[in-house]
Symmetry: C2
DNA sequence: GCTGAAATCACACATTA
DNA sequence: TAATGTGTGATTTCAGC
């Protein structure tokens, strides 16, 4: 049963900052928000515990490094029974090459963003994880030529009133 | 002029760990890699300075929180001159709602992933940033019903030989 | 929000290969 | 000579008040 919690202005300012850089000392964040360092730290801990902050990670821009390639892969299943869809999603969650997986409406059922080292690795991936999976009717690949933007940052409105969100606990 | 650098096994193990959680104390990371804490920290700093680690951020899973919605937006430009494309990409980089922007081949020129609070905000965004931009011939929206997977983690092979990458400095 | 103890970070230097 | 490990002081985190 999901519980609810609200994010006040302080929480949202904090989230906006931490989504840019989570290595900033709490002392510095506290100064920017005009609060004390312990208060700042407590807020951060609460956001973590509530699951509002879902992960804290280092990001590698593999394209800036000239490492790897990307593919868009659209997939339609032979069987759209709930269990089959769950099973497909669970499998995609296990595949390291699958960066993103969306359930979509239209000609295909799923839209995937796949990261692989090279075209041969992509071929191997498709044969193993997609066409060899038993529940795929057909699929279609596209290859983006350039990633012009990629961010995980959600801009929270720092002026609006309290914002209610669902938490996991 | 890009310079090159290689990632050895230690670097790749470190990247695999930091991409999961960058809040782990260097002492703990060092133990896992069987190296000393200063060596571990030095490696991390070098990966940062070389730009291999492009960002260190907190992630907010807005869908788990029941906050916001996603749209796929395909756009084709009226003018595909290099300058027009640059200008479009620069504009998308400024728009907070645009999470991802890819240059693709096919019917459309760009594929965007857009995050907004609600459908009205999406309408406002499209009118302002897309159809009102002066260089868009036509566009098409799709709305994914579920995000079944989202990760920024690239799995580096910890067994392979030295891996050459491009660095910014 | 403040203070102090514990942990972590980050440096200079010695050591090894 | 370049990279790793050791020891130590400065910062930061974090609990109790």
């Amino acid at each position: 049963m999901p519980q609810y919690r609200t994010l006040d202005k302080l929480d949202r300012k904090l989230l906006n900052l931490l989504q840019k850089d989570n290595q900033t000392p709490t002392r510095v964040l506290a100064d920017k928000l005009h609060i004390s360092q312990p208060t700042c730290l407590r807020r951060i801990r609460e956001l973590r515990e509530a699951g509002v902050i879902s992960a804290e990670v280092a990001m590698v821009d593999s394209f800036a490094l000239g490492y790897g390639m990307l593919a868009f892969l659209e997939v339609s299943l032979t069987n759209q029974a709930d269990e089959c869809m769950r099973e497909f999603e669970a499998r995609m969650n296990k595949e390291a090459e699958v960066m993103q997986c969306y359930f979509v409406s239209g000609e295909y059922d799923y839209f995937l963003v796949v990261h692989v080292i090279d075209m041969d690795a992509y071929y191997q991936f498709v044969r193993r994880a997609i066409s060899g999976s038993g529940n795929v009717r057909h699929f279609h690949s596209r290859f983006p030529m350039k990633r012009a933007k990629f961010t995980t940052r959600i801009a929270f409105d720092e002026k609006a009133a309290e914002l209610p969100v669902r938490t996991g606990k």
